[in-house]
């Protein structure tokens, strides 16, 4: 009978599609962004970060970068603590993405110092030689509009002060982008908690082993040279010559856990062996 009645078919089809819709799409609103998943330390974006987020959207960064770390072993090792619902409460829209042409960015905040991002966004190949990311140097020429940003903050109902808006004067879209990236994933204090605690005394398994130092040298070129220079002369990071007198265990800990406050990333995901090889390379007399 519905085969002869178009209006009835329309009504039945609408009801049919609404069943799954209500259960899987409407019902979750009762759990998400409520007290059940709230995280107190997560704060809204400040004006500069919000301006940066809008540049990220405009340039379609989400077409290549995801922003959710899944609770899978290798994913947590590679990117950091897995993502929690409450961390995204201020994300309108969400930017989780669906493809990782480049790495996930949910935990990028605090991984590198600002200077790394400025150089990388200006010319990605300068920091990551074989990357396929486009250069975004033009962001340095575009200024953030303070009034427009204030209006956006009002629309979203995010708190700000007049000083925040004043501080936008003269800021470029590049400044905004870097500020946004440094905010990502910092709503919870996961970086400190991820540090490995050292139990007992650290013993260098390769002391005096020249082949370990050679292996360390090639690791250095791959992982360290873009910040500390090809000849360890220093660039974004400090120069790394004359370390010969340093304690093996102390150096190992710095490499393994990083110095989050100094902008030095942790290299624990390389594993202990490779980090000891790096230690032996760095402790070599030049």
């Amino acid at each position: 009978m519905w085969e002869n009645k178009p209006v009835l078919l329309l009504v039945l089809a609408t009801v049919t599609i609404l069943v799954g819709t209500v259960i899987t799409m409407v019902l979750p609103f009762a759990w998400v962004n409520t007290d059940r998943d709230r995280i107190e330390t997560v704060t809204p974006y400040n004006p500069l970060e919000l301006a940066g987020r809008d540049v990220y959207i405009r340039e379609g960064c989400n077409n290549c970068h995801s922003q959710t770390v899944r609770p899978l072993v290798t994913e947590v090792l590679r990117y950091g603590d897995y993502s929690k619902s409450g961390e995204f409460a201020y994300d309108q829209p969400h930017l989780w993405g669906s493809r990782r042409m480049g790495p996930d960015l949910a935990r990028i905040g605090g991984k590198y110092p600002d200077a790394w991002h400025y150089k990388h966004m200006h010319e990605p190949k300068s920091m990551v030689p074989k990357t396929n990311m486009p250069a975004y140097a033009f962001l340095e020429r575009n200024k953030v509009d303070p009034d427009e940003t204030r209006h956006k903050m009002d629309v979203l109902g995010f708190p700000y002060t007049e000083a925040d808006i004043k501080a936008l004067q003269g800021k470029t879209e590049m400044d905004a982008m870097v500020a946004y990236l440094q905010k990502l994933g910092t709503g919870i204090d996961w970086r400190k908690q991820a540090d490995s605690a050292v139990v007992g005394e650290l013993v260098n398994p390769f002391r005096g082993d020249r082949t370990a130092a050679e292996a360390g040298e090639s690791l250095y070129r791959k992982h360290c040279a873009s910040c500390h220079g090809q000849e360890r002369e220093g660039d974004i990071g400090p120069e790394l010559t004359g370390l010969a007198g340093m304690d093996d265990g102390d150096l190992f800990e710095i490499l393994y856990n990083g110095l989050p406050d100094g902008g030095m990333p942790a290299f624990s995901n390389l594993g202990a062996t490779k980090n000891w090889q790096l230690v032996n390379y760095l402790l070599q007399e030049d």
């Binding site: 599609i17 899987t24 379609g60 090792l77 590679r78 995204f88 829209p93 669906s98 396929n132 629309v155």
Partner: protein
């Protein structure tokens, strides 16, 4: 019985423009596939991958896909209802407004005005244009069906009606946004809710735009091309209702392992696997309709397009549920496996069926027989080979990259850095880019064949006049 005054002019208009937008989609697709091989091919700020990729998907889905469905719906609704269009004037306005919308979409996307939501990137003013377009289209189709002179509504009309209402609900809910300025808005939903709404939309856009309409086309044009009816009417009824019921539960399979509540993910996974049944209901209905007629795969090029099309639909609807299983998703999600999957659906299933329908229509639209069957066959093989190379290279790439992402050393550390895995992808990216050129060549042959049909094809006066 007297032949109604069918309006084929409007069908022709939509066919021509949808092919033009389809060519744009493929050209941009080829460009961005090369950009992934060599970043120096990005020309900031307007021609970067990040801005061009939405243009590629929008031109493909809205320009080529929906443009062709407009054409084919207008053709099918008249023939199946044995009546002329309710309002030819409205349809003509729709054609102009459709092109205006696609042009507005292309310009705003290149300028960086986008909402960031996949397959729903258009900012609110263009969103409103899309809504107007859909409303006038829906009114015209529904009113034509209401004034029909054929008692029974054929299968294709059910899928068309479901598409009309489904797209309307999906688009309006996902479009809820707060305007900030003329070309900037913020989503009305936040974070995890926004993601769940978006993929409820995203996956069901696949159902309502890339499944229901091509099925309507398939159910109409397969019997028309072979001369034998669909195998089972009852099976098509079961397949139709279960398909539109189950699809709406599955959006969160795009969000497995994310902060979306676990039970939503589990439901999505279960319903995705269940969807194999209604999907294959249509596949079997197609295959079984060929009983005793398989020699037409050799003698009838239209059948070749349609049967390969439904075969890719069958493969797509097996691979999709596989990807929706948590453990498999953990492995391949975020890799190039997914574009391989998507392009089997778009370049294989949807486009092959559309090509067949357009060849079938050519005599009605141009009053001439298709210029060259040989060229149509060449077109078939080029797009088939291009698509197969595309998908297979991306599946291999995806498995390799997933394997490298998840590899660990004996001490529990990661074996590869992210860049080490990307570097391994470049050879596959080159293969994919060249497969795009092969596909593009097929599309150019198609265009040439249609152009020559319009100019030099053998007159087919009677055919164009012939009633249903």
């Amino acid at each position: 019985m007297e032949t109604p005054a069918y309006d084929y002019r409007i069908v022709r208009g939509f066919v021509v423009w949808s092919i033009i937008w389809g060519l744009v989609a493929v050209l941009v697709g080829v460009l961005i596939s090369f950009q992934l091989c060599d970043p120096d091919l990005n020309l900031p700020p307007f021609l970067t991958y990040g801005r061009l990729r939405p243009l590629h998907t929008n031109a493909g889905i809205f320009g080529w896909g929906i443009g062709s469905f407009f054409a084919l719906f207008f053709f099918m609704v008249q023939r199946l209802c044995r009546t002329s269009l309710w309002s030819p004037g409205l349809a003509r306005f729709q054609l102009w407004f459709f092109n205006a919308t696609i042009i507005a979409a292309a310009i705003t996307l290149l300028l960086g005005y986008n909402t960031s939501k996949e397959y729903h990137e258009l900012e609110w003013p263009v969103d409103i244009m899309v809504v107007i377009l859909w409303v006038i289209f829906a009114i015209n189709i529904i009113m034509t069906i209401i004034k029909r002179r054929e008692e029974q509504m054929y299968i294709s009309l059910w899928y068309m009606l479901a598409c009309l209402v489904g797209v309307a609900v999906l688009y309006l809910v996902n479009a809820a946004e707060i305007p900030v300025s003329l070309f900037k808005s913020y989503s009305a939903y936040a974070g995890t809710n926004d993601a769940n709404v978006q993929w409820w939309f995203g996956h069901n856009a696949v159902a309502m735009v890339l499944t229901a309409p091509p099925l309507a086309v398939f159910y109409y044009f397969l019997p028309k091309s072979t001369g034998v009816p669909i195998y089972s009417h009852r099976m098509s009824i079961i397949a139709f209702w279960s398909l539109i019921f189950m699809y709406l539960w599955t959006g969160a399979h795009h969000l497995l392992w994310t902060p979306v509540p676990d039970w939503v993910q589990t439901l999505a996974m279960a319903f995705s696997v269940m969807l194999i049944a209604p999907s294959w209901g249509s596949v079997f209905n197609g295959y079984l309709s060929m009983q005793g007629e398989w020699q037409q795969m050799k003698s009838n090029y239209l059948v070749k397009f349609l049967i390969l099309g439904i075969t890719f639909y069958g493969l797509q609807t097996l691979q999709g549920p596989l990807q929706s299983i948590r453990s498999f998703s953990a492995f391949i999600h975020y890799t190039d496996w997914v574009p391989g999957h998507v392009h089997m659906g778009t370049m294989g299933w949807v486009s092959l069926v559309l090509f067949a329908a357009i060849y079938y229509l050519a005599p009605y639209l141009f009053g001439r027989k298709v210029y060259s069957i040989g060229l149509a066959n060449l077109h078939f093989w080029l797009v088939l080979i291009g698509q197969i190379i595309y998908s297979i290279s991306m599946w291999i790439a995806g498995v390799q990259q997933a394997g490298m992402w998840h590899a660990t050393n004996s001490d529990g550390s990661l074996t590869y850095t992210f860049m080490e895995t990307l570097v391994e992808m470049y050879p596959y990216y080159w293969v994919r880019a060249f497969s795009g050129i092969i596909y593009l060549a097929g599309v150019v042959v198609f265009l040439y064949n249609l152009y020559m049909t319009a100019k030099k094809g053998e007159p087919a006066e009677q055919l164009a006049q012939q009633a249903n």
